[in-house]
């Protein structure tokens, strides 16, 4: 076995040193009656070539490559420049552990420091941690953090227009008090319903969680929400699934958001069937000690040289155990690195231009679809690179099914997550869609 180095002679020598006669003696502390006597019933060992064949079989079962897709809804079609993967393939990055030993981990640490900075700049926030598992768990941790920051409060308001998976996971995480998670509706423009907010926002509320852009692709009026929420003594948590929007729109920090978190897959490129992705988590300086997750900070070494270390770890499980701000240990380090490389490559000009390209593509498609007979726009507030259309004549299920036959995945039906939106499709367009792709969707819908 090419990964297991010991030859029979090696084993003999080692057994002699250990002072035993056989490998089995090593397992003597395991009660005999628990030990297996037969091999496990799993497939037999394969050679490298056979492994490749098995994967050729599996990938052959996937047919997505033949389809033109307009799926967004939390994961967006973007492509990372090739240089990203070339760098991720550096053994020094991907085969290292969490940088516990800073003297031999300066590469990882400086990259995290750069990642933290990039996110702070993009989101206009003070502090960003080294990453969370994904946007949904980041959102859940934001709810919990809000409850820690405002320890006397016990309620979390969450907009119904926040990504359904964010809401579900947050609910799961609020294991102790699921009833304390209260939904706030949306208005006819697709934005948060302020009346509903005002009705629910009381002195027990630790925070309001909104999406910006929200699940319908719509931008919220963040400054207004911040004012309302802060007035009530609560925190504003602004989540996102499409951070590329912040290449064009102000970071939520500018409006006064206290926690900004969400999904960073757009900065990784391929969606990878939903993971590994990147949980981005930013907060204000003042609440840094209540943040979950690892933080990298600047430090000085014994020779007076600048460098980086993991810091403020008294918040963390390995020190604080059951008093830690979170249980997270392994995070999504390599994905944070990927985002750092991607964003560095894009740079100041690129991030703006790419965001604007997305806006242009989606605006073009939106206009085309809105003009179609039998389809209309569901909401009228501004959107970034996705939007909701209403299927006035044919049901969304039928639209999807009939277009699937034409090798088009037209979008995401909202009914599952929003029973009230039973005629609605979420449609996304990015820089990956050529004009002819957009025209094709419009034509196929027109032809229904």
């Amino acid at each position: 076995m090419r990964y297991l180095p010991h030859t029979p002679q090696d084993i003999d020598r080692m057994l002699k040193t250990v002072g035993i006669g056989s490998i089995d003696e090593l397992f003597e502390t395991i009660p005999k009656n628990l030990q297996r006597t037969t091999p496990l019933e799993i497939p037999p060992a394969k050679s490298e070539e056979e492994v490749e064949r098995e994967f050729a079989r599996l990938t052959g079962l996937n047919r997505a490559g033949e389809f033109l897709s307009f799926l967004g809804g939390g994961q967006y079609p973007h492509r990372a420049p090739r240089v990203v993967d070339h760098l991720l393939r550096r053994s020094e990055f991907y085969t290292a552990y969490t940088p516990y030993q800073p003297e031999v981990s300066q590469g990882t640490l400086q990259a995290i420091f750069e990642y933290q900075t990039l996110m702070c700049l993009l989101l206009e926030m003070d502090v960003t941690n080294a990453s969370m598992y994904d946007g949904a768990t980041a959102c859940a941790e934001a709810a919990l953090m809000s409850l820690r920051v405002l320890r006397k409060k016990n309620k979390v308001l969450i907009a119904r227009s926040v990504h359904p998976e964010f809401r579900q996971v947050t609910k799961t995480y609020m294991v102790d008090q699921p009833e304390c998670l209260v939904e706030v509706g949306y208005g006819p423009d697709g934005r948060l319903d302020r009346n509903d907010l005002k009705a629910k926002l009381d002195g027990d509320c630790a925070c309001l969680i909104v999406g910006h852009p929200n699940y319908f692709g719509t931008l919220e009026d963040l400054p207004a929400l911040a004012e309302i929420v802060h007035e009530a003594g609560a925190l504003l948590v602004s989540t996102f699934t499409e951070p590329l929007a912040f290449g064009l729109i102000p970071g939520p920090g500018r409006a006064g958001a206290d926690i900004v978190c969400g999904e960073g897959q757009s900065f990784l490129g391929d969606p990878n069937f939903g993971g590994p992705s990147l949980g981005i988590f930013s907060a204000t300086e003042k609440n840094v000690r209540q943040m979950p997750g690892r933080l990298c900070g600047e430090a000085t070494d014994a020779d007076g040289r600048k460098g980086y270390v993991l810091t403020l770890s008294t918040r963390e499980q390995h020190i604080r155990r059951d008093k830690a701000t979170s249980n997270i240990c392994t995070n999504q380090g390599l994905m944070a690195l990927a985002a750092t490389i991607f964003l560095s490559t894009l740079g100041k000009q690129g991030v703006h231009r790419l965001a604007r390209t997305n806006l242009s593509k989606a605006a073009y498609l939106k206009k085309k679809l809105a003009a179609l007979d039998g389809f209309s726009l569901a909401f009228d507030a501004p959107t970034f690179n996705e939007f909701v259309i209403r299927c006035d004549k044919v049901t969304p299920a039928e639209v999807l099914e009939r277009l699937l036959k034409k090798n088009v995945v037209a979008g995401l039906a909202l009914e599952n997550d929003y029973p009230e939106l039973d005629r609605h499709l979420l449609v996304c367009a990015t820089e990956m869609h050529a004009k002819e792709d957009l025209d094709r969707l419009a034509d196929e819908l027109a032809a229904l």
């Binding site: 060992a45 240089v83 070339h86 993009l122 604080r320 249980n327 073009y364």
Partner: protein, 501 residues
């Protein structure tokens, strides 16, 4: 923009490198755009003037060349498995096979959107479904969820299942028993799940005694969370007895599977009496740690817990696989979408190559290696629990600390000078000054011998020139950091210097 002010080359091969914000030139970019083929939208018109920002200030302005060099130079400051021995205890830093990386990059996988209709992603579903079965068989469990993103996430998920189980039975319980040798995530996960952690003392031999459990066990204990082999590298010999005690009182047994590498093919947690466990695919199943993730922490359960598994689960309908969300008792989702799929692909690739033929050899090699180190270094360093160990051996700095004023940190830093990654020091807490060494299955005898020599050299230096150890490391790009100051006045992001603002 500032430029490289420090010595530009430290060895002529490794460079000093400022942050990405301090290199480049205004207006430079590393990205190539296709011409826009639709009318250019006016952001102000589309979004409103307030909703448009000028620019993302201070974002990098670099070429692809700058990017490549910057990150390549950073990479050269890292130690990694592919550089050398990485005996970081409890982390199972084994070799990450290269074919796994290639398989995980197959575009038919990476380009799939998680919300595609099931019929278009049967390959993904089949891989996940097969992986679930294999993990179930290896662990002796009845069902597996692949959703959790890491070990701690698996713990949280598993504890939620336990919680839901008791709630469903109408008897919510409040406490979780956790041995004092446990990893920090165990109590942290229990707390996050709303449980009160009760710490259990390990016995004199480093393992938990049934009587200790019996004493602590009552009707308010939801479960016991144990790591087996435990973090001292010892097999919990009384595990079955303990499980019986716990089950008797209606509690459930949780297994932190971080140390599964030691027992692959030898004994299954499911056969020891555990009801739920998490796997660390990024430990036992060779997926890379990525400098801090991504990992994957699937959770396996006995059938009593199956109804509570996170939604959705993969089911087979006449040969076609699909995600089933109709799970009324489910604890809900613990993560967006379906799990860290790219990590699952790597683990599947590893399992395909290992197969039933080599699985037990992994454990044998890992345990043999640890015992070889134990025996070879016994006498040089204090062994608090001297018996046969499993996949790792925990020494302590007792001799060096008390006799020469040298502690485990000093020893670790000196190992860096000698070309090795240090062992784990932060736990188990019951061994003061721990040096927790896990050699893993992929290390050769030659490597172990070199490590033994280095450790002996360090032991000798403790006796002869202890100051060498206080000063270590002296060789890498940076020496020891002033971490106290860094934490007192945290600087957590780059900020522009005065003149740039």
């Amino acid at each position: 923009m500032t430029t490289h002010t420090r010595t530009p080359g430290t060895t002529g091969l490794m460079m000093e490198e400022p942050t990405v914000f301090e290199i480049g030139s205004p207006g430079r970019t590393g990205y190539s755009f296709s011409a826009l083929d639709v009318p250019e939208a006016d952001p102000v018109e589309e979004l409103g003037a307030d909703a448009v920002r000028e620019e993302v200030s201070h974002f990098p302005e670099v070429s692809e060349v700058d990017v490549m060099r910057h990150f390549l130079r950073l990479s050269q400051w890292n130690y990694c498995i592919d550089t050398g021995f990485y005996p970081l205890g409890s982390c199972t830093m084994k070799y990450n096979p290269k074919i796994n990386e290639d398989m995980a990059r197959l575009p038919e996988f990476t380009r799939t959107h998680p919300k595609l209709p099931d019929e278009l992603v049967q390959g993904n579903l089949q891989l996940m479904h097969c992986l679930e079965s294999i993990l179930a068989e290896i662990s002796g469990m009845d069902a597996v969820t692949l959703q959790p993103a890491a070990g701690a996430h698996g713990e949280l998920t598993g504890l939620m299942l336990i919680r839901a189980y008791h709630v469903h039975k109408g008897q919510p319980r409040k406490k979780i028993l956790v041995p004092d040798s446990a990893h920090g995530t165990n109590p942290a996960s229990a707390a996050l799940c709303g449980f009160k952690t009760v710490e259990i003392k390990s016995g004199p031999d480093g393992i938990v005694l049934p009587e200790t459990i019996a004493e602590a066990m009552d009707e308010d204990v939801a479960g016991v969370m144990m790591t087996n082999p435990n973090t001292l590298g010892l097999f919990e010999t009384h595990i079955k007895e303990i499980a019986d005690i716990v089950h008797e009182k209606g509690g459930l047994m949780y297994c932190d599977g971080a140390n599964l590498n030691a027992v692959l093919g030898v004994v299954r947690p499911g056969d020891m009496g555990f009801d739920v466990l998490h796997f660390n695919l990024h430990k036992t199943f060779s997926t890379p740690h990525g400098g801090g993730g991504p990992g994957a922490g699937p959770v396996g359960v006995k059938s009593v817990l199956e109804p509570f598994l996170p939604s959705p689960v993969i089911v087979s309908d006449e040969g076609k696989l699909r995600f089933d969300t109709d799970r009324p008792l489910s604890i809900g989702k613990v993560k967006g979408f379906w799990g860290n799929f790219g990590v699952l692909v790597r683990a599947y690739s590893y399992l395909m190559e290992m197969g039933r033929d080599h699985l037990r050899s992994i454990a044998e090699s890992a345990v043999l290696n640890a015992n070889y180190l134990r025996k070879s270094l016994d006498g040089e360093f204090h062994l608090p629990y001297p018996g046969t160990c499993m996949h790792e051996v925990v020494f302590s700095d007792k001799t060096q600390r008390t006799q020469y004023g040298v502690n485990n940190l000093d020893i670790s830093k000196r190992l860096i000078d000698l070309g090795f990654h240090p062992p784990t020091m932060s736990f188990p807490l019951i061994v003061p000054g721990a040096l927790m060494i896990e050699p893993t299955d992929t290390e050769s005898l030659e490597t172990l011998d070199r490590f033994v020599s280095a450790m002996k050299q360090v032991a000798e230096e403790c006796r002869e020139t202890p100051e060498t150890l206080h000063e270590a490391p002296v060789r890498p790009v940076r020496r020891r950091f002033d971490e106290a100051t860094a934490a007192r006045r945290p600087k957590l992001r780059w900020t522009p210097s005065e003149e740039e603002v």
